[in-house]
Subunit: 206 residues, 2 copies
DNA sequence: GTCTATACTGTGATAGAC
DNA sequence: GTCTATCACAGTATAGAC
């Protein structure tokens, strides 16, 4: 692996573990056994590292956030997979979610980009709900779908952070509970005959 | 107002506006037209200011987080009032919620205290649900009440933060949307004849 | 109680040799 | 590409005069 690449990998690791503001360029260089000067040869400054990591994050996120195919029935299994992929990805770049206001302010245009991701997330959540309604799996009014999509988007955004607070900073890489929690927002709107899937999940995570 | 008191008030204002890590003791002193030395006469260090503000926060929070009275029927109006009071209080001390992991780590024992508040929040939410179920306003299983209480607690914790991200840092002191959003988590479990209250709310906030 | 002056530290970042 | 040396600066905190 090239040094530039190693800097990114190491930074991501340290940012995720200790939080971006608590990781200095010296920590990163030390961890890699290179000099700070070398680090600054590859990146103009710390923000450039953050920005590049953010771009990696956004690229993959956009791949995950595709609207469900319209030619096929949407099932709860589809939804489960979507939520799970999303949580895995957020977990990989969780440093971004730790202090969103300051991180988004630190690099120009990041706030706009991140909000676009949130918009997209909300649209996909809405599309999934509408798909589930179309095939009778779910029952809900337009207003309900709207506030539900927002609540799901919000929970997806902050659940891992909340869990971290609840566990007093101890990392538990178990994403299942979060996935369950997000999906439980949807449960009460499910047509009663379609709730078996959620009951199976609850056995695993409650 | 005594200087010590003014330091607390000014700090709270600046912390809320710019975020605690972005406010230095010099900023606080400047804003008050006193010298940094004077500030350090009243507080040993910055963490002591944070800690004292946190204690103010916790004291009032404990007053808000009382379980609903058992001798009286619980209504959706009660719930609305509870959520509203809580959001008002969080808004007043919103700096605490901006970067919870780092803030809770900065002062000893804060993580434990804050988690106790979250536990209490969850218990009150559960008690309200159970009250609403007992008088037929709401219908839900035990598992549903559990995951619902957790989702409500989580949304109460992060909604204002999420709104701030969505508005790209512009403060809008309108708490109504958040109150609606939290209460909408409960709507699908309401007995159909009791949904009028939420429909009135939705007219105001959607 | 309040001020001025100052010490100390950690961090971001650059210059120039190899 | 990588290192060593070093700067500039900001933020925390203290000492001592008034």
């Amino acid at each position: 692996m090239k040094t530039r690449e190693r800097i990114l990998v190491t930074s991501l690791e340290l940012f995720n573990e200790f939080g971006e503001p608590n990781v200095t360029t010296i920590h990163i260089a030390d961890e890699m056994d290179i000099s700070p000067g070398n680090l600054y040869y590859h990146f103009r400054n710390k923000n450039e590292i953050i920005y590049e990591l953010y771009q990696q994050f956004e690229k993959r996120m956009n791949e995950i956030l595709v609207p469900p195919p319209e030619d096929r029935q949407i099932t709860m299994e589809d939804h489960w997979l979507f939520v799970h992929l999303l949580f895995e990805h957020i977990w990989e770049y969780r440093f971004i979610y730790r202090n969103l206001p300051d991180l988004l302010a630190s690099v120009d245009k990041l706030a706009t980009h991140f909000n676009r991701i949130l918009d997209k997330k909300e649209r996909v959540n809405k599309a999934i709900c509408e798909g589930l309604i179309a095939n009778g799996t779910m029952i809900a009014t337009v207003d309900e779908v709207n506030s539900l999509s927002q609540n799901i988007t919000m929970t997806m955004t902050y659940w891992l952070n909340y869990e971290n607070v609840r566990n007093k900073g101890k990392h538990t890489e178990d994403l299942g509970k979060g996935v369950y929690q997000v999906m439980s927002l949807l449960t009460p709107y499910l047509e009663p005959t379609h709730r078996a899937f959620m009951q199976d999940l609850s056995k695993k995570y409650l």
